[in-house]
């Protein structure tokens, strides 16, 4: 059974005015448990609107969303519980920090869940460790940390709720390459440890190819494609037409093929590229 399923999900903005516009239109999706989904699409393609439906922050104009087979809007008063199961980390989440200490801020979510003190304590420490925050940081004020550290605190605040589905909206926007790799690495590690479902919105095709198992392509308020990384990134021309593109390394191989070289184009990581090139050069054995 899929963990998240949508049926004809539609969301209109400014209903009943001349400015009425569909942010998402007739979206039918099934996301399986344990998947690491990369979400790509243009600004304004409906990504953010879609993910805010998954945890009930936005109410659909039409259609349904199922979490573990249960319609999340069936009982309106239980919508808060849905938010504990589907954790959402917004863009630039460091701007939502407000507590006196890092510890208190991370515990805001678990506290809202009504957990016991010792359970909260365990979760806060575990979440902080997962995102690479040292124990001594916990007693500091979040406002004296660096930008990257603040973001880790904010992500830990959502992870501490131990959601079944974790959605991250461009968690690496504005970070330096090293900070980006570290945060994504931590998220991947978390995914492998907890075997939960992750949705990662990103503009970096390289990151998507590196971490995701599936790719969801949004275009003009609709799902353009939802498939494995290989299947999606093999549609180079289509993605280009959408203005999205494919990972750089895939582009290189695609161009080589266009230029007449007999080579595969399903290459999404530098590691695989190296292996293929060495094979081509007749040194396949050394690649490993």
């Amino acid at each position: 059974m899929p963990v998240i399923k949508t049926e004809h999900l539609t969301h209109l903005y400014s209903v009943g005015t001349p400015f009425e516009k569909a942010a998402i239109q007739d979206v039918n999706l099934e996301i399986s448990q344990g998947e690491f989904v990369g979400v790509i699409g243009h600004t304004g393609s409906g990504k953010s609107t879609l993910i805010q439906h998954f945890n009930g922050l936005l109410k659909p104009t039409a259609g349904k969303i199922f979490l573990d087979g249960k319609d999340i809007w069936e009982n309106k008063s239980e919508i808060r519980a849905v938010r504990f199961h589907v954790g959402l980390v917004f863009q630039y989440p460091e701007y939502q920090l407000f507590e006196e200490t890092v510890y208190k801020d991370i515990s805001f979510g678990p506290k809202n869940m009504g957990l016991k003190e010792d359970e909260i304590d365990a979760r806060v420490r575990e979440a902080a460790a997962l995102v690479g925050l040292k124990p001594e940081v916990l007693e500091k004020s979040p406002f004296e940390l660096s930008g990257g550290q603040k973001r880790r605190v904010a992500i830990a605040g959502v992870i501490a709720m131990e959601p079944k589905v974790l959605i991250l909206d461009e968690p690496t926007a504005g970070l330096d390459p090293r900070g980006r790799d570290m945060i994504l690495g931590e998220i991947q590690q978390y995914h492998q440890e907890k075997k939960n479902t992750i949705l990662l919105v990103s503009h970096s095709m390289e990151d998507i190819a590196k971490y995701a198992t599936k790719v969801l392509v949004m275009n003009q308020a609709q799902v353009y494609a939802y498939d494995t990384v290989e299947a999606v990134f093999s549609r180079v021309e289509e993605l280009r037409a959408l203005g999205l593109g494919v990972p750089q390394i895939t582009r290189v191989f695609y161009q080589l093929k266009q230029d007449g070289m007999n080579i595969e184009t399903n290459v999404y990581s530098v590691k695989r590229a190296k292996q293929l090139i060495l094979e081509k050069l007749g040194k396949g054995g050394d690649a490993q």
Binding site: S14, Q52, N55, L57, R80, R83, F84, G87, L88, V89, F90, P93, Y95, Q96, L97, F98, F108, G109, N112, M113, F143, G157, V158, M161
Partner: protein, 270 residues
């Protein structure tokens, strides 16, 4: 969503009214309010409301916009009308116990309601047809004489401009922070007064911090562009009075004169 609230209700256009000098528009709005209040008879109201209707037609503002601007004053109108009807003495036309209704009371209630409605509709026309920036520009020019009594006119106008500029930004920010805290299970909708007030802390603190951060960034950006107050500052868009401003002033002056004449010569019709 909070962002649906419109503040600074500018309705862009290129009509005669839109292109009037904002200074003239402010002054004429004040004159129009004076006309409404010195007027004593029915004909004056016919004239002033007719003028307003014509101006709205020229400006091309849809009727629902006018209704929208009038909606918030309805409670005020009901309140003043009730006071006027029941507490103004005069020729009694209806009585029940201690409650009396007089002819003068009804007359005053109707006149006052018309005045308030026309006042709001008239001043809304100013904000519908003038962009907030043009408005603060004009205010700065009009208040310029106050400089001689050391009143910080330029600073005040700059503060107004910045405040107007940041209202939508802060509303959007509030919306974002609320969503983020709701995603962490913040409960903003239930509980008593104290619980609700407490629930606002996770929203207000990040909002204040971001407002202060933005203020610092803006101050820095302004200094980088050599801003140092109003002294010797020139403008890209100079305000110029033109022929159409003269026409507008003429029409409003005629209207004022008409109302004064009506007060003098037709004082007792109704």
């Amino acid at each position: 969503m909070i962002t649906d609230i419109t503040i600074g209700q500018y309705f862009p256009g290129k009509s005669f009214i839109h292109r009037l000098d904002p200074r003239i528009k402010i002054i004429l709005t004040i004159v129009y309010i004076v006309i409404l209040f010195i007027n004593q008879g029915v004909f004056g109201f016919v004239l002033s409301i007719g003028l307003l209707a014509v101006m709205y037609l020229i400006a091309g503002i849809p009727i629902r916009m006018i209704l929208k601007s009038l909606k918030p004053v309805i409670p005020l109108i009901i309140f003043t009308s009730v006071l006027n009807i029941f507490f103004i003495g005069g020729t009694v036309i209806w009585q029940w116990g201690i409650i009396t209704i007089s002819w003068e009371g009804i007359r005053l209630a109707v006149f006052m309601s018309i005045r308030i409605l026309a006042l709001i509709a008239g001043s809304s026309l100013l904000t519908y047809t003038t962009s907030p920036i043009a408005l603060t520009d004009a205010i700065e020019r009009l208040l310029k004489p106050l400089k001689y009594v050391k009143f910080p006119v330029h600073e005040l106008a700059m503060m107004m401009t910045i405040a107007l500029r940041f209202i939508p930004t802060l509303l959007e920010e509030t919306d974002k922070i609320m969503s983020a805290q709701k995603a962490r299970g913040a409960d903003l909708e239930s509980g008593g007064l104290i619980r609700r007030a407490k629930a606002l802390i996770p929203i207000l603190i990040p909002l204040f911090i971001s407002a202060i951060r933005r203020a610092e960034e803006l101050a820095l950006a302004m200094e980088c562009r050599c801003y140092r107050g109003g002294e010797g500052r020139t403008r890209m868009k100079q305000l110029h009075l033109g022929g159409r401003d003269a026409v507008a002033v003429g029409v409003m002056a005629a209207c004022l004169a008409g109302v004064i004449l009506m007060n003098l010569f037709l004082p007792t019709v109704l």
